[in-house]
Assembly symmetry: C2
Homo-oligomer: 153 residues x 2
DNA sequence: ATTACTTAGTCCGATATCGAACCATAAATC
DNA sequence: GATTTATGGTTCGATATCGGACTAAGTAAT
């Protein structure tokens, strides 16, 4: 039995996959945060970016689910964004328990400059895999993500 | 311009990839931590697991690099493991600045029971992608990881 | 309409995470 | 071999993260 672990069993494979995912998550986090202004952290950017991709006006809970973080964490992240004037929160007219998160102009500008700052780094590694491969990996990961999401009950 | 973002540019693809990785990292973290004993968190398990896969006796810095976390974070994680008696740390005989991390029997038992506890969850999703696909994804991610690791100077 | 029950969000206390500064030892330069 | 310079780890202070308990508002059941 060599130093290779149980990479032959199905679960062993997933262990390895999640390990790789964890390390890459760590690397990308460091990469992004190095370019973000002092005091801002990856989730801040990610949330803003999401609000642009998918319309803003999302509720905090929707955002928490989108990123699979506890809602308390999202409260905290949104508080940081609001303090910096990147988003404003208004009560949801359809449901008084709920709120809606709206981007401000400053928030949009922040996103643009952040992307401009990070793009060069990404460009530097963008030739590692060819686009079709990246596309394929994304799709497979998305399939797995949806499955796990559903299995979470 | 539909709701699709710049998924056509190379950097846009990587944005999407890292986003997917972040969410999956979050999901797997939650999955694992739900099965770990109170007070233990994913990095605790991951470090122990790593020490088994690759021999123990690693130095804290080697571990920090393996997972791409700051060394201060690793200090903290190792302190937690030591407090629980899962590892012991001795000075590196070859370099007095350095230490070596050794697994205890309790540490090995912890790993075994943790794996036993988590395996069923993994088994439940292990049919999402067929093993060959998982293998391929791991390899592509590993390629990217190595590249980013190297680019980190 | 009153009484469960559920859902959205926050507050709180306990870690976890991380950058900056620091100490000790090692390696490199002169 | 004394003086830089680099390396391995810890300490410290500031946030981030998260589970548990709570409040307020909606929904369902009667």
């Amino acid at each position: 039995m060599p130093d290779t672990p149980d990479t032959h069993t199905a679960t062993g494979l997933y262990f390895e996959l999640f390990n790789e995912i964890g390390i890459l998550g760590q690397l990308s986090r460091a990469l992004f945060e190095a370019r973000l202004p002092e005091g801002l952290v990856l989730p801040h950017f990610t949330v803003i970016n999401h609000l642009i991709r998918v319309q803003d006006g999302r509720t905090p809970l929707q955002l928490a689910r989108a990123f699979q973080v506890p809602k308390t964490s999202m409260t905290h992240t949104l508080a940081g964004l609001e303090k910096r004037g990147f988003v404003t929160m208004r009560v949801n007219p359809d449901d008084a328990r709920s709120k809606q998160v709206w981007l401000t102009d400053a928030g949009r500008r922040f996103r643009d400059t952040a992307i401009a700052g990070i793009a060069p780094d990404l460009a530097g590694i963008a030739d590692t895999l060819d686009p079709a491969e990246v596309r394929a990996v994304i799709d497979k990961l998305a399939t797995l993500r949806k499955r796990m999401d559903a299995a979470r009950d």
